[in-house]
Symmetry: C4
Subunit: 125 residues, 4 copies
C-alpha cells in the first residue's frame, strides 16, 4: 500500500494532565498521538517539544513498523528527558515517510471527564 | 449538484468503546463516520483498517446513494472480519467520487460521557 | 479589511439534539455554525441540507453583514422547511465572499453534557 | 530550527464562558489560543476580534519569544478594550513569522464540564 499523509506535523495545545479518576485504563488521563504508517517501510519519527519558559527539547525518537498504527503517550517520552507534567507544551513531528497524525487528550481529574481530539496540523514541507 | 470533497481520507485515532450507559440510542458508545455524497453517482467506498499488532484488514465495502449522507458504525463492519473492540485502529478510506468525511466518537462507559469529532484528514490523491 | 477563508464549505456529521437539561441558554442542546465575514461586503449564503433517506433540501438563505460574525442555529432554519430533529444530516455551504466557518454541537440530554467543535471542511472551488 | 505553520489564521466560534466550578486552575472555564513559534525570531502577532452586533476591535498585540509556545487567554486581552464575556466572537490572527495555532475551550459552568479543541483555520496568504 502507498504511503499517505505528510512528512511534517505540529500541534500547539499540549498539556499532560496530572490527575485521573475512574476505572483504569479506560478513563486514565492522557495526552497522546495516534500515528498511522500505511507504507511498506519503517517510519522513523523525531519529535521536538517546545515549552513556554524553557528551551525546546528533542529529538525524541520513535519508530513505527510498516502497515501499522502506533499510539504514543507523552508520559512515556523520557529520553532525552521526561516531559513536564501539567506544563503547556507544543510538538513538532518529522518523519522519513508520509504518516497521518491525530492528537487526543482525555482529562478525568476532579470527578469530571473531558475528551478532545483533532488532526494535527500538516506542515508543508 | 457537483461532487465536493476528496477521493482519499484517513484518520488514525480509532477505538471502539466496549461499554455504554444511559438511554439508548442517544447515549450509546460508538465510533463512526459520517460520509456525504453530493454527487449524482453512487459512491463506492473501500475502507482499510490498520492495527498496532496485526496486519491491515480490508477492503470493507460500503456504498452511498447519490445526494445522500451515510453514517457508518465501525461495530457494523464485519466483512471480511469484525473490527476488534477496545483495540486502537486507524482507517484509510478511498472512493470513486469526491465525498466529505467526519469522524466522531461518543464514549459513555464508567458513568461519564465524552464526545469528540473532527474532519478526517483529506489525503492528496 | 480583506475577505479571508473560502467560498465553499461542508460538514457531514450534523444532528439536532432533541433534549436539553440545565440552565438556559448556557446549556441548551444545539447544533450550530459560526460564520465570520471579514469583508466589506454583505455575505450572501446558501445552505443545502442532505439526509440519509430523503432528498436534499435547500437553499436555506442567510446573510451576514460586513465585518460581522453570525451564529446560525439549525433549529432556526425553517424555510423551505424545518430541519428534522434527531435525524442525521450533512450540510454544504456556498457564499459570494470568502468566509470562515466552524461547526459546533452541545448535547445536554440524559443528565450529561458533551460538546464538540471543528472547523468545517474547506471545499476547493 | 525553521519556522513552521502559517502567517494568517482564523476561527469563528469564540465565546468566553462566564461561570466556573471546581478546583482552580485545572477546571477554570477558559477560551484560549496556543501559539507555537519554532523560528529563531520573535513573533509579533496582531489579533482582530469580530462580534455579532458591534464593529471589530483591534489590533490586540502579543509577542512570542523565539523557540517558545505561548498560551493566550482571551480574558487577558484588555487593550484596546476587554473582550465581552458571554458574547460570541471570531478572531483573525496575523503574524510576521510562521506559527501554528490551536484554539481550545473548557466550560465548567452549571456543574458540568465540556472541552473542545481544534486547529485554527490556516488562511492562505
Amino acid at each position: 500500500m502507498k504511503a499517505i499523509g505528510k512528512l511534517d506535523w505540529a500541534f500547539s495545545a499540549g498539556k499532560i494532565p496530572l490527575q485521573s479518576i475512574g476505572e483504569e485504563p479506560k478513563f486514565t488521563s492522557n495526552d497522546k498521538l495516534a500515528i498511522l504508517n500505511t507504507s511498506e517501510e519503517k517510519a522513523i519519527i523525531e519529535l521536538f517539544i517546545f515549552y513556554e519558559n524553557r528551551k525546546p527539547m528533542g529529538p525524541y525518537s520513535v519508530t513505527i513498523k510498516p502497515l501499522r498504527l502506533k499510539k504514543i503517550r507523552f508520559n512515556d517520552l523520557i529520553d532525552p528527558e521526561a516531559i513536564m507534567l501539567e506544563q503547556n507544551y507544543s510538538c513538532y513531528i518529522k518523519t522519513n515517510v508520509k504518516v497521518v497524525i491525530q492528537f487526543s487528550r482525555m482529562n478525568t481529574g476532579n470527578n469530571k471527564v473531558s475528551e478532545m481530539s483533532s488532526m494535527a496540523f500538516p506542515v508543508e514541507s
